[in-house]
Symmetry: C2
Subunit: 382 residues, 2 copies
């Protein structure tokens, strides 16, 4: 199903926009207005004529405009009726920030069912509830209440945790890591991981997908979406809930994969997903993806000034399914000419302990020219 | 005449609002929206549906709202018709940012006459043209294209030079000097110094008026407005154009005071205006006004740790029309008790070269309690 109106809106209404600094309804307007987004943002607030210095409207209808995306940040009890109103005026996409559904037991679940049914009836797609919203830096659209804007880039990030969104956002700005889309997915009442993998998989501006996952509903759809795209675009997943306690939580959700973490491991592997185990690894993977092109194959050349680290790297590479590149005749000839006689004469290329930057440069250049080399690891021991 | 709708608008239209960063029409919207102003700002632009991420309107009328203040930043040739339109829809106040009137000779002057006549016919008051706009920090209203917001305070600042506005603004933020109003007055086609002196003189939130003046039209009105308020609120003027060349420029303006700078001196003195001669003095005066209450009389006590500076200060004080306070018996008794026998035994109070902070503190406290002391100068020589 098409998520285009969600991610490429021309007109956005913020239902529950507020003048109170520090409130979610204020942060949403602050992030959307004046930040370079070329569309039109309408604050909706039935109490105030003006929000953030601009015209506010009591109802969607009063804007007398077609609304592509409605962001709802009002108390949960008001949301079902608001979603109905969105449908009536022809809204195409919804982001529900509000919490108080699944967490509120039966009554909350009943409201959520009603919301989803209404959205379906009108053909609206829905992110949330209980989420931060999303950011699409390429069009300078910050449809979230996060405290900053993400940088533009090629990584699509999807997080089931709002807190982690904020942490990654802070880190990414500092490290100059950019995103094509940055999505806080919340309770996944409608749009889930598989929808986003389908959408980002087909998006020419996304070249990798990074996911922080707490629980997996619609496991089969997820697997098939991942399988379809993992070969073209790396999908990296940090799956939380490895502990027994976490597994129990996962079990209690209908439709979840079994609480056995090994099942996830196996499933991810079959789908071609790269699984990482810590937030640090997720960050590192994201940064690596942001900083360099994806290698076309698994053949690695290693340039080192010490034998030991070269051996360790080789072991780890082979263990992970990689290969040591076989150097071409031209490369060997170049290395024989440029390096001292005692060099290792094979890959890993030991340029010896006294190597200066020129010798490293020479070896790296020879490897980069070699069509049998898909990637290059340079090790410098002090 | 009432300037209230100009300075206390609920609704503001920016005619010539723009999406081009770096343009005046962009800076105006950026300064007005999201900066804490509680009213409603409408961008008017007949080419774009959306400006700065919010709804823009082709015409004032299309806002379907009453507009209190219209800020016009379009080419001069378009302004007469726009002012007519403002009148028709009931706009109360105008700020014309656009240049290209007086500077453009006869044709420009004719346009300006038409604009003023139209404004008068509809009862609109007008600041400008060729100005930066104004800032009223207490309601967080930045109706200017200056690069920052002024801090709130009690000084009303009026400048005939836009460049000086920017310089003073930068300086004031750094020095924590605040303003009740900060007005770039431009060509004064309608609102002039005298209107603003009348208005700020009656404003309970203004306790001093600081003016940068290049030429004085309506000299008589200025004098009578200044005379009415200078006793209650200090009016400080930096009059530029002291040079012969500057005087000639002043002479060429009908209605100006004679190009003889001494005439200004005399007139300012009669009106109770404090004249300063350099921008530094203007800054110092503004800072002094911002930092302390205005003394009720001219009797000064001087506490010093060296005789010479005390004498110099006394000379200067008397020359400027001040007086050396006569210390009361209680003050003398306190000083005799607290200070070493060698102290000066009169005002200036020489607390001697080896005075520490306690001795200074003791002397200052004694002076502050003395009803015969209106002000206190503390001198510390190293």
């Amino acid at each position: 199903m098409n998520l285009d109106k969600l991610f490429n809106p021309q007109t956005i209404a913020v239902i529950g926009a507020s003048n109170s600094e520090g409130s979610v309804g204020y942060a949403l307007i602050r992030n959307l207005v004046g930040s370079g987004f070329k569309g039109t943002v309408y604050p909706i607030n039935f109490k105030h004529k003006s929000i953030y210095g601009i015209r506010a409207y009591p109802k969607l209808r009063d804007t007398r405009d077609e609304i592509d995306l409605a962001i709802i940040a009002t108390p949960s009890a008001t949301v079902p009726e608001l979603v109905e109103e969105c449908g009536q005026v022809g809204v195409k996409g919804l982001v529900i920030i509000s919490a108080g559904f699944k967490e509120q037991g039966e009554a909350g679940n009943a409201m959520l069912d009603q919301i989803v049914a209404t959205a379906k009836r009108y053909g609206m797609r829905l992110i949330g509830p209980n989420c931060l919203g999303f950011i699409k830096p390429s069009i300078r659209l910050n449809a979230s209440f996060a405290n900053k804007m993400a940088l533009p880039g090629k990584i699509a990030f999807i997080s089931q945790s709002g807190a982690l969104c904020t942490a990654i956002l802070d880190w990414s700005v500092e490290q100059h890591v950019g995103f094509s889309h940055f999505v806080s997915i919340g309770s996944m009442a409608d749009v889930g991981f598989h929808d986003l993998i389908d959408y980002f998989g087909a998006d020419p501006n996304t070249n990798s997908i990074v996911i922080y996952m707490e629980s997996l509903t619609h496991a089969r759809k997820f697997m098939s979406a991942a399988r379809a795209f993992a070969r073209n675009k790396p999908i990296i997943v940090l799956k939380a809930g490895k502990s027994t306690a976490g597994a129990k939580v996962a079990l209690s959700h209908t439709g979840s994969l079994a609480g056995n973490d090994h099942a996830f491991d196996a499933a991810f592997k079959r789908a071609g997903i790269i699984r990482v185990n810590t937030i640090t690894e997720l960050f590192n993977a994201a940064q690596t993806l942001a900083m360099q092109a994806r290698p076309q194959g698994k053949r690695l050349a290693i340039v080192t000034n010490a034998g030991g680290p070269g051996v360790l790297a080789t072991d780890h590479l082979v263990e992970q399914g990689g290969e040591i590149a076989t150097l071409s005749e031209q490369t060997m000839a170049a290395l024989n000419t440029g390096l001292p006689p005692m060099w290792s004469h094979s890959n890993p290329i030991d340029v010896l302990g006294d190597a200066d930057e020129e010798r490293y440069g020479m070896a790296v250049e020879a490897c980069l020219k070699d069509p049998g080399v898909d990637g290059l690891l340079v090790i410098l021991t002090p």
